[in-house]
Symmetry: C3
Subunit: 273 residues, 3 copies
């Protein structure tokens, strides 16, 4: 884990984002915070050049449109050809036909490394149908002690079927590549009160996977723990000082930027299956 963390800091990977305009600034600042360097570009004419200078690609469909879809597909092909990782965040998959169909198209046409979503989004991919409530998981789609075994099984099966790493985030986080499966129990429920904590983790995953190509699944688990520990620290700060969700947002990014190996190793709650 120490090595995985260090690789990001030493590598300082440049991560290309085609992402939504809601949480894009948070993605940029948390990318820097975790040790990477962000660049956002979605004009189709830049996709090939970007794939030459960047180490990985983050695709986030949070404010999707057709121009973006074209750029995502072209960028994805260029990164695939260069064997550079692509991370997909299927924001709101299941909420509208456009998002669901685009998710399937990206899965089909690109060589994705990681898909990160909440349980509703991942279930939509798994079942080819879903009931995502906007950008949040549906109320019945919770990861808890009752559901965890089924969620792990689904993650395992979907990862095997699609040959990607599946990262499902919620009260507990599941990471599986079809062989190794990790459960991460960091984080705090209040993180749901900040818009874009999922998007931010997806950005971090880009830096971690690009910097740890030989160890990508474990890197995803560590990245998820980094985000979770940051959420815990930020939540303590906010509660102590009686602040609110805007300070939680600031605190999460702060806590990623001040993360050390010591904090990570001491705070990480991870199990391998």
């Amino acid at each position: 884990m120490k090595k995985i963390f260090e690789n990001v800091q030493n590598n300082k990977p440049l991560i290309h984002h085609i992402t939504n305009y809601v949480t894009v600034n948070d993605c940029a600042n948390i990318q820097i915070a975790c040790g990477g360097s962000p660049i956002m570009a979605d004009c189709i004419d830049e996709m090939e050049d970007m794939s030459n200078i960047c180490s990985g690609l983050v695709l986030n469909i949070g404010t999707l449109n057709h121009t973006q879809i074209d750029s995502m597909l072209l960028a994805g092909k260029n990164y695939s050809q260069r064997n550079k990782p692509i991370i997909l965040d299927p924001v709101g998959c299941g909420a509208t036909k456009l998002r669901t169909e685009t998710t399937f198209k990206l899965i089909e046409e690109l060589n994705l490394s990681v898909i990160r979503g909440n349980l509703s989004e991942i279930k939509t991919i798994y079942n080819k149908t879903g009931n995502t409530k906007g950008v949040d998981a549906a109320d019945e789609d919770q990861i808890n002690l009752e559901t965890i075994d089924n969620v792990i099984k689904m993650a395992h099966n979907l990862a095997t079927k699609l040959n990607v790493i599946i990262v499902i985030t919620g009260q507990m986080d599941i990471i599986s590549d079809g062989k190794d499966t990790y459960v991460v129990k960091n984080g705090h429920p209040s993180m749901a009160n900040v818009s874009g904590t999922g998007c931010m983790l997806t950005s971090i995953l880009g830096a971690y996977v690009a910097s740890n190509p030989e160890n990508a699944t474990k890197a995803c688990a560590v990245a998820t723990a980094v985000m979770g520990i940051a959420g815990e620290k930020a939540n303590s700060y906010v509660e102590k000082h009686n602040l609110g969700n805007a300070s939680l947002r600031v605190g999460i990014i702060n806590s990623v930027s001040t993360m050390t190996e010591e904090i990570l190793l001491k705070g990480i709650k991870i199990e391998k299956f």
Copy 2:
């Protein structure tokens, strides 16, 4: 007022935004802060699906373009058909022909529930011409003890004419549906130093109106007070700690997210006419 506040917390309405890319993150986080759930989508292919899953629509013309206008019109028709509220923020109406004409088109073609703007923007709608200074009210367009009677009359007449709730924000805030009129005296002048406090209030109005369909005008008045009280609290914090406008922005969202019935009922300065 207690009931209006509680309805938002219990309902947790999903509010669809077609909004500008400048203040969109603040709108998302303040939507969560006030008790709702935000989703931003502007691709025309998603408009119908969104109108099925969301409880209300916020239209904000702060960075307008033709693609957005088409989506606003289609979305608006779908929400109208479903009897779901539409809130319009005519940002910069009067500053450019595109914004002025689009505002009139949206008013004409859609069944709007609320229009919220500063005095210059609302005067432009009322007089069919205006001199908005960018996105701020013109210097001569101030709501004070001298002008208040005329502003109330205008709000009342415009609300009657257009059959919408008019919310005019400034040093004092006027809310009128042509029958009931409220004046809210919360807020602090320093709020003008944060980009997007108007946009943020418009987002909150979406949650309040969607959660209080039988009591929409009063809900607008309460929502306006929530924003104003948050501004007062944030301003006190910033002054006490000698901070600046970026902390004021954080503090406003924080204060909305920690708002309670007690804080609201104690702080609200409202008069009904």
Copy 3:
């Protein structure tokens, strides 16, 4: 310097931005913080109207696309005709062909007042080729005691050739119009950990140049110092309270908004050549 600072506060210039969606909110809030008023608009139909009501134009190519390029060119022509200043931030010039070619096109077709970039971006313009690493300067492109003489020479030559003010930011900042050259030694290396500090300075330059037409080069130097001093103050605060890069972002904008003549005159580290 006192006069330059005061002119911005008194003038409160309305500055039109065509800018990227990553750091646009920071540009808006720092524009207010420094004394100006921001408006963001990129629809081609608004460009002429905007050029009538605004005092200056900021062009930032951080998330460039063809629609934006058309608007930049038309807006630029309108501002040029009205003798209003245009500030160009060639974000990522050298990283992709689209950005490099667009930069040259804007330089060729518009009457720019200022170009602000990091050393890699400005070298790309100077040498007609470059190796910008994403949106940051390449590792070899540092402004230090060894390189400063060459950088000053380049700034001087480029300013003369293009008849613009060149602002190069880095460990030290160089401002030159081909006659007068200033070196500003404010700022802190940690500012590189915040996405968009360059974009924010470009916004401030808009307000300073628009408010000081007779003294534009010195105004650029003072604006650069304002940003640097804000970075120093914010960094001290962040270090003292053991925070991170998200608080640094908030602190920089805060420190610009609480800047006074006294703080500026006491903190400024400027040399004229």
